[in-house]
Symmetry: C2
Subunit: 360 residues, 2 copies
C-alpha cells in the first residue's frame, strides 16, 4: 500500500486550521467519532467539503481504519470462494493489509452487496473493497463513488460502468481452446452448455466456442448451444435434453466444473459413458475436477491469481486516491485429463461427418 507521496490534496492539518479546531478534533470528525460538539462537527464538515478533503492513510498513521480492506463474496465454503480468498489474503498480507470477509447478500438481479452492507463498510472506514462475482446496481456504484471508497471487481458477472476496474480471465480464448481440443479429437457434434447469456464469462466462452467451430469448418447446430443458470440442477436438466436429441452431441463444452459434473450425472443416468460415448470439458479447474471420476478435462481460470491481481490493483487505486479504467484478463489454460476422448466409432483426428450409432 503506497501511502507515500500522494499528490497532495489538503491535509487534515489544513482542514483543522480552516475549521479553527485542533487536528485530533478534526480527526475525530473524519473518523465518525461521536464525542465532538455539534457546532464543532458542523465547522469541520464544512471545511472538509470546502477543501475537498479525502481520507488518505499515511505512513505512521493509525492502523485501524486504513489497513482493512473488504472482500464481498456471493457465498463462502465453495472451492471457488476458497481460491479467491486465498489469492486475496496472500496479496493483502504482502501489502500489509487485512481483509474483512462477508458473503451471501443477493440482489434481485444477482449477487450484490446490500445497501446496509455498504453503509457498514463506510462507517467502519474501509480502505477499499473487492466485490467478487457481484452484479452491482447503478445506485451502488454511485454510492461507492460518493463515499470515495476505492473498489475493484473480481470476475464481474456483467460489464461494469466505464472507469470501474475489474479482473477476469480471457474466457474467449479459453472457450476457443476447449472446442478446438474437441475438434482435434475428431468431434463434430459439439454442444455448448453455458451460464446466463447476459453474463460476461458465458458470453465470451460461447464466442470462443463459435470461433473454434468456424475455424474448424463445422457448422453451428442451433439445438447444441444452451444457456442456463449456473445451478447444477439446471445443467443436469439441459444435459438430459441434449442426450435426448435425435442426434445427440458426442461432446459437451461446459461453462463451469460444477456444471460439468452435473453433466456426468445426467450421462450416468442415461447410461452414457464418459469419455467413451460422451466427452466433457469443464471450466475453472477447481479441486473437484481433479477428484472427479473420470478426472475432468477443463479450462483453468487462475482464480487465485485473479483475486491477487485485483487486490494489488485496489492498492494502486487506494494510493492514487482516484479511479482508473482498467480491465485485466488473465490467461486461461486447457488442462487435459480423462473426460475427453475421440468420439465413438472413431479413433484420432479424422474429418466429419460422424453418424456412428450411439446408445441413447
Amino acid at each position: 500500500m503506497a501511502r507515500t507521496g500522494g499528490p497532495a490534496g489538503p491535509t487534515l492539518a489544513t482542514v483543522a486550521r480552516e475549521a479553527r479546531v485542533s487536528v485530533p478534533t478534526a480527526s475525530k470528525v473524519v473518523n465518525g467519532r461521536e464525542d465532538v460538539a455539534p457546532e464543532t462537527r458542523r465547522r469541520v464538515t464544512e471545511a472538509l467539503d470546502r477543501l475537498g478533503y479525502v481520507r488518505r492513510p499515511r505512513a505512521g498513521g493509525a492502523a485501524y481504519p486504513s489497513s482493512l480492506v473488504d472482500l464481498v463474496l456471493p457465498a463462502l465454503g465453495s472451492s471457488w470462494s476458497g481460491a479467491v480468498l486465498h489469492g486475496v489474503e496472500a496479496a493483502a498480507a504482502e501489502a500489509g493489509l487485512e481483509i474483512v470477509v462477508s458473503a451471501g447478500l443477493t440482489t434481485p438481479r444477482g449477487y450484490g452487496p446490500g445497501r446496509g452492507r455498504l453503509h457498514r463498510l463506510a462507517a467502519r472506514g474501509s480502505a477499499g473493497a473487492l466485490f467478487s462475482r457481484a452484479e452491482l446496481t447503478p445506485s451502488q456504484y454511485a454510492w461507492l463513488e460518493q463515499h470515495r471508497i476505492p473498489f475493484v471487481l473480481i470476475d464481474p458477472l456483467v460489464a461494469p460502468p466505464p472507469g470501474v476496474a475489474g479482473v477476469g480471465a480471457d474466457d474467449r480464448a479459453g472457450g476457443r481452446a476447449a472446442t478446438a481440443h474437441l475438434l482435434a479429437l475428431g468431434h463434430r457434434r459439439i454442444a455448448f452448455l453455458g451460464g446466463p447469456r447476459h453474463q460476461l464469462a458465458p458470453a465470451a466462452r460461447a464466442a470462443g466456442h463459435r470461433a473454434a467451430l468456424t475455424a474448424g469448418g463445422v457448422p453451428r447446430h442451433p439445438a447444441y448451444e444452451r444457456h442456463t443458470t449456473l445451478a447444477p440442477a439446471d445443467a443436469r436438466r439441459e444435459a438430459l435434453a441434449l442426450l435426448a436429441l435425435p442426434e445427440p452431441p458426442t461432446a459437451v463444452h461446459v461453462c463451469s466444473d460444477a456444471m460439468a459434473l452435473a453433466v456426468y450425472e445426467a450421462a450416468a443416468e442415461r447410461g452414457v459413458r464418459v469419455p467413451e460415448e460422451l466427452s466433457v470439458v469443464g471450466c475453472d479447474d477447481l479441486p473437484e475436477s481433479r477428484w472427479a471420476a473420470p478426472a475432468l478435462t477443463t479450462v483453468r481460470r487462475p482464480l487465485s491469481d485473479m483475486a491477487g491481481t485485483a487486490l494489488r490493483l485496489l492498492v494502486a487505486l487506494m494510493a492514487a486516491d482516484g479511479t482508473a479504467a482498467l480491465r485485466t484478463d488473465l490467461p486461461t489454460r486447457l488442462v487435459v485429463r480423462a473426460s475427453t476422448a475421440p468420439p465413438p466409432g472413431r479413433a484420432g483426428t479424422a474429418p466429419p461427418p460422424d453418424r456412428a450409432g450411439r446408445l441413447p
Copy 2:
C-alpha cells in the same frame, strides 16, 4: 477504536423514535438486513446520521470495542478452511458482527498466530478472536489474557490451558465408529493411520479405534498403528509401508480425508484395488471425499457447525467480558460410501482369522 465507556451516545431506541419505527426495525437497518421497505430504511438511515449513532452492542452490559472479530486460520483455499469460514461467517452475520480473516503464520511448534499478528489485532481493537487449528504458545495465551481479548479455539490441535474455550468434535466416538464399521464387514487386520500422536484429534481417534478392537475381541497389532504428520506425502509413504508388510492389513482407518486419498494413491501404485482388496475409511467428510473414486467412506466432523458454535461461544464471552472453561465436542457421524467392503475372500461378517491371499 475506543468507543467504549464514552459518554452515552444515542441508543437504538432514540433512533427508532426519531425515525418513527420500531426498535427491531431500526435494528434491522443497522444490521444491514434486506427485509426493510426502502422508505423505512431511508428514514432510519437519516435518523442514524442525524443523531450520530454508533453501534454499541451491549449484551450483558459489556460494550464491544468494535463489531470486528478475527478469524485466524492455518491456511486458506482448502475445503477444510472453506467449511470453517462458512460456519463462522454465517454465525457472525447473525450476531451482527464482521470477520477479519487471516492465515498462514506458523510457529516452530505448529500453526499459530505470530506476535505481530496479535499486536495488530489489539491495535485495531478486535472484539474477539477465533483461532482455528492453532497451537498457541504460553506467552501468546498470556498476551491475549493481558489485552483482555476474548477468544475461542476451533478444533484445537493440543489441549489448551484451563479456562480456555474450545470447540471440537467427538473424535473418540468417531474413531470407534469407523473401526466398528470395518469389524462389522469382517475385517480383522485393520491398520490405523493417524496424525501426530501428541495432537488431540489423532490421539482421540486412536483411542476410539483401540476401544473398538477390544470390544470386537481383535488383538492390537503393533505394526498396524502408525502416526505421521498430516501431509499427504507422509500418509502415502506409511501406506506403502503397511502394504509391504508380510501380512498387510485388509483395511485402513485414516485420520483425515486428505490422508485417505493419499492411501488411495499408494494402493493404486501397488496395484491394490479399493475396496476389493483394501477398505479405506477417512475422516472429516470434506467435499473431495464425495468426488473421490471410489467415493470415500468417512467420519463426518461437522466443521461448519463447530465454527459457528465457536463464534456463538465467543459472543457469549464478549458479552460477559470474561473467560469460561468450556470445551464443546460436537457429535461425529459415519458416512458409508464405496471405499469399504468385506475383506478379500470373504463376504459378510464372519469371524477371523483371514489368511486369504492378497496380491501385494
